[in-house]
Symmetry: C2
Subunit: 131 residues, 2 copies
DNA sequence: TCAATAGTTCATGAATCCGGAACTAATGAA
DNA sequence: TTCATTAGTTCCGGATTCATGAACTATTGA
């Protein structure tokens, strides 16, 4: 098993970062890793936004986040611990990650609101019996 | 020929924006569109960063920028005029586009510096005869 | 040494990307 | 009107990338 690759800070590219974060599953994974104080292992993500994600797919997603320079993965015993590299990335591209996370937050809020209002409408149509 | 699609502001997604800007050719196209005061037509991009881009590929790139919500394309006579939708996007996701363009600027500067120093080194090796 | 757990790699079908050839739409000249 | 020109789009093939189940590797503990 070849060792995990972590790009050095000057090898991190904007394109790589944007590509890594242009996938909804990977953004939620990254948001969780950033939000949690403690390092996150893979199994914490077997379900992302109500969708089951196979282990092999997760592994690929972690690889892309890692090779984009967004996270650092270290083996601790039998499991992997993933922590964000926000601070480093922010040194090279100030404000970028923050802006993306804020935008993602705005969009999540909008989606939740849209979902709620759709559910309300559907409940109205069904005569009060919501999902 | 089906009409051009422009998403309404609330249909613009962070994923779409990031995906559109995660390609080096598309970023430079977008940077140019933002920088130029006058609308840009397709032919202005037949060469992007010293690389010839076929018309069909350009057309696809414009489509992706357009459907992500980054630009607005309007036919004026025989040619197309493309203008950025920065202001609108910034209303929905404040600071996002700006942060990406700034990061891209930092990276371009770094690349130019690296290229220059590589050329210098190569010139030294070749005994003063640069490329 | 064997079983269990956590994650990676491999193989393959699906989806996407690139670019040349053919097409369409607007304009202007004959 | 008809034809030529210009500007861009669409179509289709090959190349690349993506998703995922199956097989594999590494670590720990019994």
């Amino acid at each position: 098993m070849r060792p995990l690759l972590h790009p050095s800070i000057e090898d991190i590219t904007v394109e790589g970062l944007l590509h890594a974060l242009s996938d909804p599953v990977r953004v939620s994974m990254f948001v969780d890793i950033v939000a949690q104080a403690c390092p996150q292992n893979c199994s914490n993500f077997l379900v992302v936004s109500d969708r089951a994600i196979p282990k092999s797919t997760l592994s690929q997603h972690f690889k892309i986040l890692r090779e984009a320079g967004l996270i650092r993965s270290e083996r601790h015993g039998v499991e992997m611990q993933n922590v964000s590299r926000c601070t480093e990335v922010d040194e090279r591209f100030p404000g970028l990650i923050r802006a993306i996370l804020v935008a993602h937050g705005i969009q999540s809020k909008d989606e939740a609101r849209a979902k709620k209002s759709a559910a309300k409408k559907s409940a109205k149509r069904a005569g009060g019996a919501g999902p």
